[in-house]
């Protein structure tokens, strides 16, 4: 299982970034909870529109199975759903804590977006 977590910093003890499309970093972790890749999402932070769509595509291209973030809008959700990526929304604390919740099965997965479309 590959888990992606939106993060405000590059390491596993950084706080989760509540934004998905415009998250500062996206950390990708393996099933042992080790960071395997740090994606600098600056290009998407400054994207015109469709930041969530592009971030969703980025995760699909990296064959991620689960996304952990704060907010997920409708367009991003559509992309993640099409890519078969499960989303845990409204997650906070550090990346490490959020991943532990996924591993323990404590986190619930969303069946719909939890925020309106951003512009």
């Amino acid at each position: 299982m590959r888990i992606a977590v939106t993060s405000t910093g590059k390491d596993i003890d950084s706080p989760v970034d509540p934004r998905f499309g415009r998250a500062r970093y996206i950390l990708i972790l393996d099933e042992k909870g080790t960071v395997s890749e740090v994606v600098d999402n600056t290009a998407n932070v400054n994207a015109l529109k469709g930041a969530g769509i592009q971030a969703g595509k980025l995760l699909a291209d990296r064959k991620v199975d689960v996304l952990v973030t704060g907010h997920c809008g409708p367009n991003a959700f559509t992309v993640l759903e099409a890519a078969g990526i499960k989303v845990a929304v409204q997650q906070s604390g550090t990346v490490r804590q959020a991943v532990a919740k996924i591993m323990s099965g404590e986190a619930e997965f969303a069946d719909k977006p939890n925020v309106e479309a951003h512009w």
Binding site: N46, L48, K49, V115, E116, A117, H118, W119
Partner: protein, 287 residues
């Protein structure tokens, strides 16, 4: 942290003057000016710019005339008629779609990032402020609006401020949508005219579509008391509460000419009404 966005469907209803007064009465808010193509809040609050950043959005096509063979492939596919018969791209018409870039057999087209404005983090006598200036004729103001709102949230979190006061954009299009999405509360300033009523109804429809709670303030109520009543009824139909009304009062213009908020100028009919409305904002919306 709460984010209160002040908008008006119609322009010139007193949205910015009210925002400045709220900023003065709140005393501890982060201010945001989202009316990025005709920003005026700075005129009343005199921000001292601490940091200025460039804002880039989208791309524009540029044709290298040295490489171009004038084969017309780009002109045939451009749906925005942005390339003239001497193969110069009109930046006003260019949508930045890049179709010409892909179709050009000579690779004579480049897509350049477009510098379309600046944004600022400043200090005012009422607290920190984030504002921006879009260059004339540019688009993407929705993105710039989103950017300044996000920046304000960063500052509010860092400085432990509990309120973000946003002077929103007029209309019902892209900049307004960008001003209100995700906000905690929207306050619409309306004026009692048939146009004001029409625009209020359009903007309420927009905001309620985003399921954001709305309240309404009627400015210059005595210009047409009958329409003021109709506005109050219409607000109710949209699930909005009317927080209060402000009488027409020359002291608002006087304060603006002195570049101050009307509540800074001692007692006046408009100032008193605004103070009462602010008390209701505090008790009904922010508490």
């Amino acid at each position: 942290m709460r984010e209160l966005v002040i908008i008006s469907g119609k322009g010139g209803t007193g949205k910015t003057s009210l925002t400045a007064s709220f900023a003065c009465l709140a005393a501890d808010a982060v201010l945001v000016d989202c009316d990025v193509d005709a920003a005026d809040l700075h005129i009343l609050v005199h921000p001292e710019v601490k940091c200025a950043e460039e804002f880039r959005g989208g791309v524009k096509a540029i044709i290298d005339r040295g490489i171009c063979t004038e084969c017309a492939a780009c002109r045939e596919v451009c749906r925005f008629n942005a390339i003239d018969d001497s193969y110069v791209v009109n930046p006003v018409s260019c949508e930045g779609c890049g179709v010409c870039f892909h179709v050009c057999p000579e690779k004579a087209v480049e897509l350049e990032e477009n510098l379309c404005g600046r944004w600022f983090v400043s200090e005012t006598r009422f607290g920190p402020m984030v504002h921006a200036a879009l260059f004339p004729g540019e688009e993407n103001s929705g993105k710039l609006v989103a950017l300044v709102r996000n920046q304000a949230k960063v500052i509010a979190r860092r400085e432990g401020k509990s309120l973000i006061l946003v002077d929103g954009a007029p209309g019902v299009g892209c900049p307004v949508i960008s001003s209100v999405t995700g906000a905690d509360h929207v306050l619409v300033v309306a004026e009692p005219s048939l146009s004001g009523l029409h625009d209020l109804e359009r903007v309420c429809k927009l905001v309620s579509g985003f399921r954001i709670p709305i309240s309404v303030v009627v400015n210059k109520r005595d210009i047409n008391p009958l329409i003021t009543e109709r506005i109050e009824a219409s607000a109710g139909n949209h699930g909005a509460q009317v927080l209060g009304t402000v009488p027409y009062d020359d002291s608002v213009i006087k304060a603006m000419v002195q570049r101050r908020a009307v509540v800074e100028n001692g007692l006046s009919a408009a100032g008193n009404a605004v103070r009462e409305i602010w008390d209701r904002v505090k008790t009904r919306i922010l508490s």
